[in-house]
Symmetry: C3
Subunit: 446 residues, 3 copies
C-alpha cells in the first residue's frame, strides 16, 4: 500500500525527485559539514532563515494594518485576501517564480525575459549553493525570497480594499506575484539588464515597494474611488478605519519584520554589515515617524497617529534601497524626507481623487522611488549614480503600472473588478463571504 | 542576613544545587569553549533557543485564536486559562515532566513507564550534553521541550471552551501536561517502545497534536455541547466567535511559531535540514489554506475565512510528522489533503453533536493522524512503514482519549466539570472571574 | 547633482563620516573575517541583533498592554505616545545617550557624570569592538542598547496615562530617555561608581525597571489621580480598561521580548549562559503568574486576569537583576515572591491614592527593587552583597524619583502637565489628536 501510493505520487509528481536528490546530495554535504567553514556557513544560513520568519511576520503586519485602517464591514474580506496572497504567493513562487527570478535568462533574452520552473524539478541537484555567495542553502534562498514575493500583491491589496471583487483580485494577485514580480525582479536580482547597468537596490525600494505601489496605482485608477469618498460638490469625505490598535500593531510588526527584510538582504550574517543595516533601518524608521508627526501637526493642525504610523513605514521603505551603503546620518535624513513626503503624497492623491484607503501608493510607491534615488544622492559607493537609479526606479514603476493597467483592465473587461454598489454599501464581508468580523461582539456593560 | 536566607533556601530547596553545579561545571565548559567545535555548538544551541522563543509565541497564537473564535462573554476566562496552562505547564515540566520524558525508563518498565524528577536535583551535574546529539546545552533542551509540553493542554482548552469549570480544567490540565504528556512522549522521544519499533514522528503530529486532539475529544464527550448549539429538533445552530482579526492574528502567530516547532525539532541548526524543514512546513501550510478555501467555497458555497485559517493549521499539523523526510511536492500534497480533510472533519463532528468551538479535534486530532500516516506514505526513508505509523498514532490517540476519559470522568464525579446553565448563559468571565473583557468599550461615534 | 548634494550633506552633517569610516575600516575587518574566531564572533553578534529585535517587540507589548488596561477614549493618545517614545528614544540615544552611557566619564567625574556625543562623530573609527568583550560590533551594541533606552519612558507612559498633556509628556520623555537614563546607566554599565562598588544588576531590574518605576511615581504624585478615581467620601472607584485581549497580547509579547532583554544581556551567544538565563527567566515569569493568580484568588476572592498578567511581568522584572547568578529553584522563589508582592503593591498604591492605571510603579518599581535585592539573597556569587545591592537599587530609585520631581515639576510650572478636566472627560484622543481609536466600529448584528 505504502509503495503503491508512493509510486503513484512519484509518477504523478516529478517534484518528489527533490527529496531524493536531497538525500543523494547528503553524502557530499556531510563531507562539507566536516570542514572548517561549516560553522560560519551554519551561522549565515541561520540568519537567513530567521530573516525569512521575520519577513513572514510582515504579512501579519500588513493584514492588521489594512483591517485597522478600513471599515469594519470589510474586515473578513481583507483578512481572507491576505491569507490567500501569502498562500498563493509562496506556492506560485515555488511553481515558477523562484526559478524565473534567479538562475537567469533564456538565451537572447537581453536580460529581460526570465524563464522559470517548479523548483523541485530543475534544481533537484542543487541542495547547497556553492558559488561565491554560498552563505546559505538553496532551500533557504527559496523560503527567504518566497516571503518577499507575496509582498507586492499585499501592497496592492491595501489600495484596492473595500470595493474590489474577491475573485478578480485573486486572479490579478496570482498573475502579479507569480509572473510579473519575478520577471521584473530578475532584471536586477537575477543579474539582468538593470544589474548590468549598475543599478542598485539593496533590499527592494523599487523592486518590491515601488513595484507594488505603482501596480496599486494602476488598479485604483481602473477601479475608481469608494462610493461616498468624493462628493458631487468636490469635497473629500474621510472614510475612517475601524481599529487604530490593529493598525498600530501592524506597523510595529512591519518594523520588526523589516529587520529581516533589510538585515536578511545582506545574504549572510556578516556582523558588520547586518548590524550596520539594523542601525540605518531603525534610524530611518524613527526619523520618518518624527517627521510625519511634525508635518501632520503643522499641516493638519494635530499630531496624527495614522500619519505617524505611515511615517515609520515611509522611513523603512526609503532606507530599503541603500541601507548598507549610506551613512548613519544620511539614513536619518532619508527617513526625515520620507516622513515629510508621505504626508504630502497622501494629501495629494486624495486631492486628485485617487482613493487609497491605507496610503499604500504614497508609502510604497512614492517613498520607494525616493529611497532608490536617495542611493544616488547619499551612497558612499562612488559607482552608484543618480541617473542610473532614476532609470531603474522608473523602469520598475512604469513596468508595474503598465502591466497592471493591461492585466487588471483585461480582467475588468472579462469579468468585472468591482462589487455592486449594494454590496459595497453592505460590506464585502457579507457580500463575498457571508461572514461578519465581530458577529458576537456586544457592549454588555452599558 | 544574606547568608542566613541563602542557607535557609539551600536547606529548603534542593534545587538550588543546580546553580552550584552550574558553577562547578564551568571549568570544563571553559575548556570546551576553547575547542574548534565551540562555534558550531554555539550556532546550533542558538537556533534551539530561538526555536523555544518561537514555540512560546504559539501560546499567544493559541490564545488569540481561541478567543477570536468564541463568544465575547468567555474571553477573560479563555485568556486566563491560557496563561495558566503556560505557567503551570513549564513549572510541572521542570518539576517532573522533563526528566520523565527524556532520560529514560525505570528498569523492567518495557519502555512504557517513565520516572521523572525536579530537573535541578537529578541533573545537577549535566549542564552540557555530551552525547552524540550534543548540539545544545541541557538547559536549552529543557526550555525548548517545556514550550512544547504546554501545547497539549492548550489544544484541549479550545475544544472545551465556553462551558468548562475553571477549577476542573486547571486540575485536568496540570495532570495532562505534568504527567500524561511526558509519559506518552517518552515512548518515542525518550527512546521507549514506539521508538524501538521504528515509529517516526519528527516534531509531533501524534505525540503533541493527535495526543491533544483526542484528549480534547474525550473531554468534550464528557462535557457535552454548549447550550443552544443543537436544538431539540436536531438543527445545528452556529455559535459565532467574536473577533476574526484576533483569530487571524492567532493563526499567523501559530504559523510563525511552527518554524520553531518544526525547524527546532531538527535539534541543531543543520543548514540543509532546517532550511528544508522550513520549506516543507511553509508549503504544506499554504497548500492547506488553498485547499480549505476551495473546499469551503464548494461545500459551504462561500470562501470561508475560518476554514482558510483552519486549513493553514491543518497543513501545519499534517506536515509535522514528516517535515524532514518527505519530498517538497509531497509536502504540498500532504497540506492539500489536510486542508480538505479538516473542513469535512469539522462538519462531521458538528453533525454528530461533538461541540468543539474552535475545531481543535479536527485540526489537531484528525490532521495529526493524517500527518503521521503520511510519513508511511510519502517518506523517502524506506525504514518508515505505514503499519508502524498506524500503530504509533493510534497508540497516542487511544492513550490520550482513555486517559482523559478516566481522569476527566473522575474529576466530574468528584467536583463536576461544567458551569451552571445560568453561568454559561451569562458568560464565564463574570461567573468565574467577575471581570469583563471589554468593560470600557463603547461606540462613541454613533 | 549627485556630488553637489552629497557634498552639502557631508558639510552639513558630520555624521556621514561614520559611513566613510565604515568603509575605511573594512580592510582590517576583512582580515578579521579570515581568522578562526570569526564564526564564533558571527554567532555571538547574531544573537545580540536578534535580541535587539526581541527587545523592540517589547515596545509593541507595552503599547498594547497600556491601551488594553485603559479607557477606550485615550487609546490613540497612548499609541501615539508609544510610537513617539520609541522614535525619539532611539534618535536621542544616537545623538548623545549611547556615548554617554558606555565609553566612560570625563576626568574627575568620580564615575558619576558621563559625557556623550553623536555616535557617528566620535566613534567613526570604532566599527568593531576589540576589547575583552568583543562578541559583537559597535553597531550591534548601539542598536541593542537603544532598544533598552526607550523602555524607561515607556514605563512612565503607563502610569501617567489618561490625563497627561501630550506636549508635556513628550518633553519629559525626551529628557528622561535622552539624558537621565544614560547618565544613571553609566554608573553601573558604563563602569561608574556603582560598578566600582561591586553592585550587580544583570539586565536592569534597577537600571531600567526601578528607574522607570520611580520616575513614574514622581510624575504621578505631581500629576494627581484621574478624575473620579477617588471619590470624596474616600472610596476607590475602579476605572476599567477597554480590552483584555490587547492587554494579554501585550504581556505575552513582553514575555517573548524578555528572552532578548535578559538573554541578550549575556552579551554573547554563550550556550550555557544564554540557555540558563532563558530557563531562569521563564521559570520566574511562570512562578509570578501562579503566585499572582493564587494571591488574587485569596485576597480579591476571584482569579483575576489582570493580576495574573501583572504576575508574569513581576516575575520577569524580579529575575532581571540576577538571571545569570541565581539557582533555578531560586528563580522560582524570586518569581513567586514577585507575584505576591505585585498584588499587594497595586492594592497599596491604590489605597494611598497613587493612581497608576497599569500598575507600572508596582511592577517595575517595587519588583525592580525586589529583583535587585534578590541578587543579594540568592546569588551563587559570593561577591554579591545585600548591602551593596540595597545601596544600588535605592540610588537608582532615588535618582529617578528626584530627577523626575524636579524636571516634571519644572514642566508643570512652565506649561502645565495635565489636560483640562473637560478634555479628560471627553478623552485625550479627541482632545489631543482629533481622532478616535475605533471610529468605524459598530455592532451590526443586533
Amino acid at each position: 500500500m505504502k509503495n503503491l501510493l508512493r509510486n503513484v505520487s512519484v509518477l504523478a509528481l516529478a517534484g518528489v525527485a527533490a527529496a531524493t536528490a536531497f538525500a543523494a546530495d547528503y553524502e557530499s554535504y556531510e563531507a562539507f559539514a566536516e570542514t572548517e567553514g561549516y560553522a560560519l556557513f551554519t551561522a549565515n544560513n541561520l540568519w537567513l532563515l530567521i530573516s525569512a520568519a521575520l519577513v513572514f511576520t510582515m504579512h501579519l503586519g500588513f493584514s492588521t494594518l489594512e483591517v485597522g485602517l478600513t471599515q469594519q464591514k470589510n474586515t473578513v474580506n481583507i483578512l481572507f485576501k491576505n491569507v490567500f496572497i501569502l498562500a498563493a504567493g509562496v506556492l506560485t513562487y515555488a511553481f515558477w517564480g523562484f526559478n524565473a527570478m534567479y538562475p537567469g535568462f533564456a538565451e537572447d533574452s537581453a536580460g529581460i525575459f526570465a524563464a522559470g520552473s517548479w523548483f523541485g524539478a530543475d534544481n533537484a541537484d542543487v541542495s547547497l549553493m556553492t558559488d561565491a555567495y554560498a552563505a546559505y542553502t538553496w532551500w533557504t534562498d527559496f523560503i527567504f525570497q518566497a516571503m518577499f514575493a507575496a509582498t507586492a500583491a499585499t501592497i496592492v491589496s491595501g489600495a484596492v480594499a473595500e470595493r474590489i471583487k474577491l475573485s478578480s483580485f485573486m486572479i490579478f494577485a496570482v498573475i502579479l506575484v507569480g509572473f510579473a514580480y519575478p520577471l521584473a525582479g530578475s532584471w536586477k536580482w537575477g543579474g539582468g539588464w538593470l544589474d548590468g547597468m549598475g543599478f542598485y537596490d539593496f533590499a527592494g525600494s523599487s523592486i518590491v515597494h515601488a513595484f507594488g505601489g505603482f501596480a496599486a496605482l494602476a488598479c485604483v485608477l481602473i477601479l475608481g474611488p469608494r462610493k461616498g469618498k468624493y462628493t458631487k460638490d468636490g469635497k473629500i469625505k474621510p472614510i475612517l478605519g475601524h481599529s487604530m490598535p490593529l493598525a498600530t500593531i501592524g506597523v510595529f510588526l512591519l518594523f520588526l519584520g523589516w529587520f529581516g527584510f533589510n538585515g536578511g538582504s545582506v545574504l549572510s550574517a556578516d556582523p558588520l554589515l547586518v548590524s550596520y543595516v539594523f542601525v540605518t533601518t531603525a534610524l530611518a524608521a524613527c526619523a520618518g515617524a518624527i517627521a510625519s508627526m511634525a508635518t501632520s501637526a503643522i499641516v493638519l493642525k494635530k499630531p496624527d497617529l495614522s500619519m505617524a504610523l505611515n511615517g515609520i513605514l515611509a522611513g523603512l521603505v526609503g532606507i530599503t534601497a541603500g541601507a548598507d551603503t549610506v551613512g548613519v546620518f544620511s539614513s536619518v535624513i532619508i527617513g526625515l524626507v520620507a516622513g515629510v513626503l508621505v504626508v504630502f503624497a497622501i494629501l495629494f492623491f486624495d486631492k486628485i481623487k485617487v482613493d487609497d484607503p491605507v496610503g499604500a501608493i504614497s508609502v510604497h510607491g512614492i517613498c520607494g522611488i525616493w529611497g532608490t534615488l536617495a542611493v544616488g544622492i547619499f551612497s558612499t559607493n562612488a559607482d552608484h549614480s543618480f541617473g542610473t537609479q532614476l532609470i531603474g526606479t522608473l523602469s520598475y514603476g512604469a513596468f508595474a503600472f503598465i502591466f497592471s493597467l493591461v492585466v487588471f483592465g483585461a480582467i475588468k473587461a472579462v469579468m468585472g473588478v468591482r462589487v455592486s454598489e449594494e454590496e459595497e454599501f453592505e460590506g464585502l464581508d457579507i457580500g463575498e463571504h457571508g461572514q461578519e468580523a465581530y458577529p458576537d461582539f456586544s457592549i454588555t456593560s452599558r
